[in-house]
Every structure is written in C-alpha cells, then in structure tokens.
C-alpha cells in the first residue's frame, strides 16, 4: 500500500509539474490573445520620437479604447527588428518600408491601401508606392537634407575685414566654387572663428556612413538619371556610370580636408559625434537633414542658437546648380500588414486616419513628432516649428529653386551601400584612389542589381 501511494504521489507530482510548465509557457500567449482584440501594433522607425509615440498611444487609448502598442527599432536596425517581429503571432499591424526596394522585400506583407482614407488625404498621389492597381506604401513625412550651418559662426567670418573672399553673407553662396572659397578661407582662420574645423567629422564607421554612401551619393545619381531621362518608377536601374563622380569627389574632399577630424581618423567616427561637434559649436557646418534637429537640441551643453541654424543646398559643381535646392523627399512609407486579421487591419487604418486627420492627432504630428506631412488634411500653418523644418519649407516655397528628389530609394540594397562606404573609407585613409572608388561604385551597383529579384 505504502509503495503504491508513494509511486502515485510521485506520478501526481510529475504530472503537476508538467502542467505548471505548460501553463507557464502558454500563459503569456493567452494573455496576449485576450488583449489582442482591441490592440494594434506599430513598429516605429524613428528612435528620436519614440517617447512621443508612447504619449500618442496613451491619448489614443483614452479616446477610443484601442490599445496602440509601439515598439521602436534601435537606429539602423529596423529591417532586423521587422524581420523578427513580423514572424511572431503578435505581429506589427502597421510597419514601414523604405521605398520601392523595401516594397519588393516586404510585398507579401503589404496590404493594398488604395481604398484607405490616408491614401485619399495624400495630396500628391504619385508619391505613394504602387504596383499594378494597388497602393502599398504611403509616405507620411517629407524630409530634406543639405548642409546645415551655424550662422553665428559664418557671420563671425563675414565680419572679418581681411577675408580673402568678396562674399559678404551665406545667402550669396550659390555654387560650389563660392562654397569652397568661403570654406577654405575659414579653415585658414580657425582660431579667430573659435572652431576646430569648418565641417563636422565625416563619420565613416560602418553603419554610420549613410550620410555619404546614401545621402551625398543621391546627388550625382540624381543628375545622371536626369541626363539619361531614367524613369524612376522602374525599380531596378541595372547600370550606372557615376558620370558625376568627380563632382562627388569635389564636395567630399571639401568635407574631409576642412574638418574637425583629420582624414585618417574618420573610420571610427559616428553620426552622433558629428552632431555633437556641431551642437557644441566646434564646427560651423554639417551635412544632415530635418530629422537631426532632436540630435542637435538634445546634446548637453549645446551652444547653437535655434534661430541661427540654417541650411544650404549641397553644391558640387554641377552646371546650373545656382538654382539647386535642398534634397527633399521621403524614405518613410507606412504599410499595413496584410497577414493580420481584418479587424486589426481596420483598426490600424482607423488609427492612421485619426493620427493624420483629427485635431488631436495632427497636433501631435506637427508639434511633437515634428513631421512635415504630404497630406491635404494639414493646413498651411500646421507645420513643425523647428529651424530645420522651416528651412525646408522656405526652399520648397521659393519658386526659383529646383529641389533634388530622393533617388537613393532605388540604390540596389545594403551591400552596395556598404561596399561604397568601405571604398570611401579606404580613400580617406589614402589606401586607394578615387578612381578605385568610382570603379567600385559602378561594379558593385551592377552586381547588386543583378542579384535583386
């Protein structure tokens, strides 16, 4: 009897243990399923506004009772995060793709948005990502980049009576030769200007080199496409000549030779290093875009005055560039997950509608998120007030300049950009010539294009 009892007790114990384990394992999923009815999930691309989305989620829950779960991918890890998140049973219902290439990678997950309100609001329908009759990505923010400069420092230069140039303010700079004259003369007067270099460090650490291998490279490719009349809706441009490579070299050399950091030491510099150099007043200029405002503002001991932050187009000696404006476009397209339940899709569309058309939502967008949106629901005065966004607005409204579109969304993938970035690094370290850089640009473009399906 005793024997029996003992073995039974043991059996019972074991079964209970297993049961507890099974319960533990499934508990989390159960809880999620319970709440899932009224929950949508947005995978955010922009770490700089992660906290704002938390606020928005709270407000949205108050107004509608729907829980908005926001997860933010760390800088430069959006694709990674999306890949792992979307495989889960609790997948993002709203995510973002970075353009035509992003769409080709995620097409199985992109819902057709042509019937949605948010597409209706889009003032220029050609901005959306389309395929056949469907609309699969809708841009939600228009951004611009150029050379950000601190007018306080440039004014200090223009106040010097014995300067070598006859230019008297940054407004007169409208070509590469003038920019170079000013920058080089400034470099010879660093101590009088109280700076360590005219330009912030050209950050070339792998992963932090996107300002050069993507943004700066946009300009030569833009002009080449323009010369060749390339149709940008065709995703895959299989060959490139890099015919404006020498122009690229001109501006790139200007950056690295008049910089806070000497060329050989750029391989470990980060974008955040450059931004803090600018914010701390150690340099006068830095190439970056509207999204950088939070970076500048957020640096401790920041000495740059808000009203003194201005933007200049990136001149590189292309003919007719006097009329060139900033690089304005978007690589942020919202997509709704086609593989989640219809309820969730509907709730997701409702949320986007709320965010971009309700008074509360719009207020968050312009004041807290700081987005200039391409939607007709936003009035003329409903635009962000930060200095960089104002500059973009100024260039957009000035009729006589031609803004440079973002063509880098058709660059053939990450590996191409990495290779180009690595080639630039070797170039600044003096290990290869710029002809090698050009060759790598062409060869890598061709190879990576051929691998795209």
């Amino acid at each position: 009897m005793i024997k029996m009892k003992k073995s039974r007790a043991a059996l019972l114990l074991a079964v209970m243990l297993s049961a507890i384990l099974v319960l533990c394992l499934s508990a989390c999923t159960l809880v999620n399923d319970g709440g899932a009815e009224q929950e949508i999930y947005f995978l955010n691309f922009k770490p700089e506004v992660a906290e704002v989305y938390e606020e928005i989620a709270k407000k949205y829950k108050e107004e509608t009772g729907v829980t908005l779960k926001v997860v933010t991918a760390a800088a430069n890890t959006y694709e990674q995060t999306l890949k792992s998140e979307i495989a889960k049973s609790d997948a993002p219902t709203i995510f973002q793709i970075n353009g035509p290439l992003g769409y080709s990678a995620w097409k199985d997950y992109c819902d057709d948005m042509s019937e949605s309100k948010i597409y209706e609001y889009l003032s220029d329908k050609s901005l959306a990502i389309k395929s056949g009759d469907g609309v699969y990505g809708i841009p939600y923010v228009v951004e611009g980049y150029g050379i950000i400069y601190n007018e306080e420092i440039t004014d200090r230069y223009f106040a010097l009576s014995d300067r070598k140039t006859d230019i008297s303010s940054m407004d007169e700079v409208n070509s590469f030769s003038e920019l170079r004259a000013v920058v080089e003369d400034m470099t010879s007067r660093l101590s009088e200007l109280g700076i360590d270099g005219v330009f912030a460090s050209t950050s070339l650490k792998p992963g932090d080199d996107w300002r050069w291998q993507t943004h700066l490279a946009n300009l030569p490719v833009y002009y080449e496409f323009k010369d060749k009349d390339v149709d940008l809706t065709g995703v895959n441009v299989s060959k490139i000549d890099f015919s404006y490579g020498d122009n690229y070299k001109a501006i790139f050399d200007l950056y690295i030779l008049n910089s806070v950091t000497e060329p050989g030491k750029l391989g470990t510099k980060l974008v955040s290093d450059s931004m803090s150099e600018f914010a701390l007043g150690r340099c006068a200029m830095v190439q970056n875009g509207t999204w950088a405002w939070n970076d500048i503002k957020g640096v401790d001991g920041n000495v740059v005055k808000e009203e003194k932050i201005k933007m200049l187009p990136i001149y590189m000696g292309v003919e007719g560039e006097e009329k060139q404006g900033l690089c304005i476009g978007t690589e942020n397209y919202l997509a709704v997950n086609s593989q989640v339940s219809e309820d969730k899709q509907k709730m997701s569309y409702d949320f986007l509608d709320w965010l971009f058309s309700s008074e509360t939502g719009k207020k968050y967008v312009t004041e807290k998120l700081g987005f200039s949106t391409p939607f007709s629901t936003f009035g003329v005065n409903e635009t962000p007030a930060d200095p960089l966004a104002k500059e973009v607005k100024r260039y957009m409204s000035e009729g006589d300049t031609e803004n440079v579109g973002w063509v880098f969304t058709v660059f053939p993938g990450t590996v191409f950009k990495e290779n180009f970035g690595a080639a630039l690094l070797s170039y600044v370290q003096g290990k290869n010539s710029f002809d090698d850089v050009k060759r790598i640009f062409r060869e890598s473009w061709e190879r990576e294009s051929s691998l795209l399906k």
Partner: protein, 289 residues
C-alpha cells in the same frame, strides 16, 4: 537492493519525471535548432515562410564574394593567437599570485575585474584607447585589418586573462604540499619544479582553460562589432559578425546567413567534441598514475 529501488520508482514513470525538463528543452532548444537547420535549406524573409531551395545557400556561402572563407581564416588565426597568449599570460600571473606575497588578493581582484564588463562596452573602451595611440600616426583602427586583428587580441587577453588566472590559481593551490616538499628536498630547481611538478598537476585546469578560450574567441561577436564593426570593408569581421552581416545584407540572402550559421555550429561542435575526448583521455591517464 536494485530490486528494492525499482519498487519505489518503477521504470514506466521515468518519462513522466523527465517530461517537464524535456518540454522546456524542446521548446527552447530542440525546436529552434531543427527550424534553424531547415531554414538553411530555404529562401525566406521571416522564419515562417521558407521556400525550399536545396543546397543553393551552402553553395552561395562558399562562393566568391560571400566573405565566409576570409572570415573563417581571420577567426582561426585570431583564435590560435589569442588562445596561446591568454593561457600563457594567465598561467604566469597565477604562478606569481600564488606565492603568498603581500597584495595577492588585491591583484587577483584587479585582474579579474575586466571579465565583469560587457563586450560592447569593452569594445568601445578599447577603440578609444587604441585610436588614442594610433592617432599619433594620423590613422585609426580601421586603417588596416591587421590593426583590428591585434586590437581584438589585446582586448580578448584583457578580458579573459583574469578568469583563466582564477582557474589556474585553483589548480596550483590544489597541488599537494607533500609533492612540493619532496621535490624541494630532492633539490629541484625552480624551473624543474615548474616543468615536472606544477605543469603536470594543473593539466586539468589547462584543459578547461584551453576549451574556454578557444570557444570564447571563436564565437566572439560583440567585441568585434564594437571595436571595428568589420572595417575596413569586411576584412576584420569574424565568423559571427559575417553571419550577422550576411543575414541582414542582401534581400533574399537570409538563407545564406542561416547556412553559414549551421556550418559555424558544426565547427564549434567539432571543437567541443575533440576537446571532450582530450579531457577524457587526460582523466584516464590521471587514474592510471
């Protein structure tokens, strides 16, 4: 007696008792592992939508520009160099710190501390230090893959020596006093003591330390990512970083990254098996003596 025990725990309940552990093991290890191997034969974007492509991923992994072989070579070179340096230095430190000199405990603590710092932080700290030195020559650690290589070796030494030293100290402290005394009476020279007493008796510690440094260096990732990020190009990426970069590089090449990861696993498993064999033989030898 055997019979008696069987009465208490009949064999048929064996499985029931095993079940909880088995379940946990399956969920957290076996299933992901099998899924991983399966995915290496497919083309996929997310882990649930694989499309069978056979051996294609493995072929791509070894093809010209995938960088896998370069990374493998770099890793092997790094592993050999750092295993030797870490163990030699750790062993002599342990010798020095088992003589009962003043401050022994203080120095043991100091040497052990780096081991408590995370890899990413270590990577950035050493990047600053190394760049600080290299800046006299107007370059930084990304100038050449050789700089990255030696940077990694220094970093690994700094991180692992303390830990290995503790293991060696334990081994040295376990040498029976009688043997040492007997050797001394017989007039053994310090070198003779080291050669014929210390080293043979701490052999078990040596095996453990070799194994730990070998696997630690072979699988290194965060230090590599923080120190050089693979620059210049991908020349200083080790296997783990190369796999990571492949996985997130080209669209549609996740499977190739996965295939590389499977090969990586096979190599690590082989090292572990060989190591186990050697340990086993050492133990048997020890018994015979």
């Amino acid at each position: 007696m055997g019979k008696h025990r069987q009465g208490y725990f009949p064999k048929k309940y064996f499985f029931v008792f095993l079940l909880p552990t088995l379940l946990a093991f399956a969920v957290s290890f076996v299933i992901p592992f099998i899924l991983g191997i399966y995915l290496s034969f497919t083309e996929f974007t997310t882990v649930t939508d694989g499309r069978w492509v056979g051996l294609q991923n493995y072929i791509s992994a070894f093809s010209g520009d995938s960088g896998f072989l370069d990374a493998l070579l770099f890793t092997v070179r790094f592993t050999v160099v750092s295993t030797v340096t870490v163990n030699v230095i750790a062993f002599f430190l342990a010798l020095a710190l088992t003589r009962g000199k003043k401050g022994t405990n203080f120095f043991r603590t100091v040497f052990f501390m780096p081991n408590l710092i995370g890899g990413i932080v270590l990577g950035y700290i050493w990047q600053l230090i190394i760049n600080g030195v290299l800046s006299y020559f107007g370059v930084d650690i990304t100038y050449s893959a050789e700089y990255g290589f030696w940077g990694l070796v220094i970093l690994t030494n700094w991180q692992l020596i303390g830990y290995m030293m503790i293991i060696y100290i334990a081994g040295i402290n376990n040498i029976p006093g009688e043997i040492v005394e007997a050797a001394k009476i017989d007039g053994a020279s310090p070198f003779g003591m080291l050669r014929y007493i210390t080293i043979p008796t701490v052999m078990p510690s040596v095996t453990i330390c070799l194994f730990l440094t070998l696997t630690n260096s072979f699988k290194m990732f965060d230090q590599n990512l923080a120190l050089t990020g693979g620059a210049p190009g991908r020349e200083s990426s080790m296997l783990a970083l190369d796999i990571y970069k492949t996985f997130y590089g080209r669209v549609g090449e996740e499977g190739v990254g996965q295939a590389k990861a499977v090969i990586f696993f096979v190599i690590v498993a082989l090292i572990a098996l060989i190591q186990l064999r050697l340990t086993d033989r050492n133990k048997k030898d020890g018994k015979k003596r």
